[in-house]
């Protein structure tokens, strides 16, 4: 029965989506700059190779939408499932606005909650971790409320999520901020009624180089072994034996292990294919978001007297 249902949904959805996509996924015309270059120097070779064409998918997409890239583990790859998941993700993004955010950004997530008073709950916090890909993409928000550290794990494509607001768009120095759990509470305390800060359009995402202050041991993890950039006082609490054991577990050769890096990434050609497939719809969603933002920024003046 399940399979039947799935097939029905797929057969309804697939033809129109694919037909739509086949038309507008990528440009078949060479870019204008390239044309000019070839006109000025007519002896330039390889005019028609794909390398000479300028891709229309912007290069920052892999940072903004990392969950569209599949898991690089070969045993778990399934191109059909990945494609279907991408369609579902786009469908969900059409229903709810899921903006660009990074580890270190401050978010407010409104989600349905059967036990809350108004049936919805809003949680404000700093994103300390992003993981998993496809429909399973998820992130953790952390905040300190009434002197108690709180963390909520949200699935990005969870249908109970009603609204995701980015209150402050920024990055931190590290890839995940689990060390905030062992830091002083003021470093993960954020006002619940915080106003959203607007970044200028086209400006690069700022990197907040704040260094957090850890409280003394015992810690949840051995932070001294993780080469953290965003921690100020790690030296204060560790002894020689910690330093020695930390030096022992370092893996300085890993930056030269090319095959290990290759197995952990999706190659560029494949990334291009994937983002060419979803680019049009993501781009229209982005434009829509921009339009809405402009609408919101204009507030009708109130008559006071």
């Amino acid at each position: 029965m399940n399979v039947n249902g799935f097939c029905r949904i797929v057969s309804k959805k697939l033809p129109q989506q694919f037909a739509y996509k086949r038309i507008v996924t990528f440009s078949t015309k060479p870019a204008q700059q390239q044309q000019e270059a070839t006109v000025s120097t007519p002896t330039l070779p390889n005019n028609n190779t794909p390398a000479a064409r300028k891709p229309i998918v912007p290069g920052h997409y892999r940072f903004v939408y990392p969950e569209f890239l599949p898991d690089p583990k070969v045993q778990w790859r399934n191109t059909v499932r990945e494609k279907l998941e991408r369609l579902d993700m786009l469908a969900r993004r059409g229903q709810v606005d899921l903006p660009e955010f990074y580890v270190g950004s401050i978010l407010a997530v409104t989600s349905s909650d059967p036990h809350a008073a108004g049936k919805t709950s809003r949680f404000v916090g700093i994103c300390i971790h992003r993981e998993r890909c496809g429909l399973r993409a998820r992130f953790i928000l952390r905040n300190v409320i009434d002197h108690q550290g709180m963390e909520v794990l949200y699935e990005l494509y969870d249908p109970t999520i009603q609204k995701v607001e980015v209150l402050r768009l920024e990055k931190r120095l590290d890839d995940s901020l689990f060390y905030l759990r062992d830091a002083l509470p003021e470093f993960s305390t954020f006002d619940e009624n915080m106003e959203a800060e607007h970044l200028e359009e086209g400006a690069p995402v700022p990197v907040n180089d704040i260094k957090v202050v850890l409280r003394p041991r015992p810690w949840l993890e051995r932070w001294e072994r993780q080469n953290l950039l965003g921690v100020a006082n790690i030296e204060q609490y560790i002894k020689d034996k910690h330093r020695k054991s930390a030096a022992k577990v370092q893996k300085p050769w890993e930056k030269y292990d090319l095959m290990k890096q290759y197995r952990a990434t999706i190659p560029e050609e494949e990334q291009k294919e994937i983002f060419a497939e979803v680019h049009t719809e993501l781009h229209t969603l982005e434009l829509q978001r921009k339009r809405n933002k402009r609408k919101r920024s204009f507030i009708k003046p109130k008559q006071l007297a």
């Binding site: 390889n46 892999r62 940072f63 990392p66 969950e67 890239l69 599949p70 898991d71 690089p72 583990k73 070969v74 045993q75 778990w76 992003r130 993981e131 998993r132 890909c133 496809g134 399973r136 993409a137 893996k251 050769w253 030269y256 292990d257 090319l258 095959m259 290990k260 890096q261 290759y262 197995r263 952990a264 990434t265 999706i266 190659p267 560029e268 050609e269 494949e270 990334q271």
Partner: protein
């Protein structure tokens, strides 16, 4: 399910990549493994064709491919690529060879930069499989025997038959002409031209 690492962009390899690496039994662990593979990669870049055990060749092949593809992608002005070349090539004159010889050679290639053959193992001897690893476009004679002149290759059989048929036709043509020439004095020129036409068609 983990997210793919997006901090680096790597070109797709044109060889089959195993899902997991081989550990290549080593007392020094993964670091020792890389040291071992460095020697192989250096030898490959230096000699362009080497014979060694299959497992080690297969592991080293990926590293050599990525080293060359990174060099092509970033060029010699890119610091991380230069560090990589410095690490992987133990003889430093080979860094020059990588950027000045191999990069121009492989710039327009659509296939892998290396080739690997299975080699026969010595008997009696070590049981391990052996192989030959080489860079494409090397100056040595090819390892595979040239089969294009084989008499039994289907193309050659067909070509032979076509040649035979062509010759047969020529001979028939010649014979016709001779016949016409011998009969010509008896008949007029118009008639002789009529007899030739059908053979020409």
């Amino acid at each position: 399910m983990n997210q793919a690492d997006v901090s680096k962009l790597i070109s797709q390899l044109r060889i089959v990549v195993r899902p997991k690496n081989r550990n290549l039994k080593n007392p020094d662990g993964p670091e020792g493994r890389l040291l071992k593979l460095r020697k192989t990669v250096t030898a490959l870049v230096k000699h362009e064709r080497i014979e060694l055990y299959y497992n080690r060749a297969d592991e080293a092949r990926g590293y050599a491919e990525l080293l060359i593809s990174n060099a092509i992608r970033h060029g010699d002005r890119h610091k991380p690529t230069m560090e990589l070349a410095d690490y992987w090539l133990l003889e430093k004159q080979l860094v020059h060879k990588l950027f000045k010889v191999l990069v121009p050679r492989y710039d327009n290639y659509n296939v892998s930069y290396t080739r690997m053959y299975k080699a026969p193992r010595d008997y009696p001897g070590m049981y391990y499989k052996k192989s030959v690893l080489e860079l494409r476009g090397n100056p040595y004679p090819t390892l595979c025997a040239d089969q294009t002149q084989n008499r039994n290759l289907l193309h050659n059989v067909l070509l032979d038959e076509a040649r035979k048929e062509f010759r047969r036709e020529k001979v028939a043509d010649l014979a016709n002409k001779l016949n016409v020439a011998t009969e010509a004095p008896k008949k007029t020129v118009e008639e002789s031209s009529d007899t030739i036409k059908p053979t020409a068609i």
